[in-house]
Symmetry: C3
Subunit: 162 residues, 3 copies
Amino acid sequence: MTPSATEIESPESRLSAAGLVLPKPAGAVANYVPWAISGSMIYTSGQLPWIDGLLLFKGKIGSDLTPQQGYDACKLSALNAIAQLKHAAGDLRRIKRIIRLEGVLNVAPGYTDHPKALNGASDLINDVFGAAGSHTRMIYTNPEMPLDCASLVVLWAEIRDA
Amino acid sequence: MTPSATEIESPESRLSAAGLVLPKPAGAVANYVPWAISGSMIYTSGQLPWIDGLLLFKGKIGSDLTPQQGYDACKLSALNAIAQLKHAAGDLRRIKRIIRLEGVLNVAPGYTDHPKALNGASDLINDVFGAAGSHTRMIYTNPEMPLDCASLVVLWAEIRDA
Amino acid sequence: MTPSATEIESPESRLSAAGLVLPKPAGAVANYVPWAISGSMIYTSGQLPWIDGLLLFKGKIGSDLTPQQGYDACKLSALNAIAQLKHAAGDLRRIKRIIRLEGVLNVAPGYTDHPKALNGASDLINDVFGAAGSHTRMIYTNPEMPLDCASLVVLWAEIRDA
């Protein structure tokens, strides 16, 4: 029995095909929530590069971390954001389009190649959502990050049948 | 005569019960406005921790300011943002939900405990709006802030009958 | 033959009257897009102060760049954002209102007069769109910027007949 086209093309199946597993979405913390829906849009809170509370990428890209680790940090932050979208939408096929990616990066003084690090998030989004992953983005660098994490990622996703 | 349930539960009455007075909303400055409504959402501009133009919290949290002062700065920035929401909506009971809190903080080098400072904004929002205060949030630190203020807060609020 | 009122008051005619030419909008880069429409809103990606790929303003306002150059950088970033809006909307008269301006600035340590630099973007938006240019704004400073650019600008624009 071969999978249907729908199964092949679902974001979940693309994640599996890439050997990726969505982290368990970080739950509501004391005083804010990981996502909210307003109208047809899901907005996530800032997502750290962690799995089950274990922060995998700490410190500054360009000194503590290599460019490749910066790329991987952004990819993992985005994977956590996708886990939040799935929690919010139930099924990632409900995502009509990723509208915006916001990435805040922790970089060493003088390191200006951070857009390549955020490509770790953009590439993942395009791989997982295909045409629906076509997104705008905004990049920031900040001098200090929560828990000294390497990256924070926010996603906005338009859903089909809000 | 006892107040009605509606009066008890209004955001305005919760503010009073907490002994808080909304600052006079800062008016339109020369070339931008303090809030705008699009569809069912009110978006504020960045709000400083001031009252009647007097900036109460200047400098960097973790050196010039204590953690508690950082918390209080974020609370006051959020109080100013709520004042803008009231100006925009007329009555805070029209707020269906606070969708997003954006907080930019002015912190000393190496100070990474700034999420606790932004809790000053989150706690206030939850106290004032109850279940409708359940919000996503994104945190930033910036090396230089307007007027060297300690915090800038933006709120997005969904309104009921836009 | 005199121009009609509509011609006089179109954003395109105001640009011409101010002697401004919209830069060719930077096309889609490898893995993200310069604008997206969701509902009735156009969101742009971050726009650099460049023309045809030539970055005109690099470095930090307050040391490498004068305050006036900071103003001009923000103006040029906003001009690029308006070029994206025109590409998205076809005709700038379809813009009902500019809802939000986001400006990230590259400033020298201790330089806190950056809101005046972002006025370069706000002033242009007001000049080009008139009453429809009345916008909220949020300002950031970042320690490192892509290509060491002086400014990044994002615009959100509500369109009339989405």
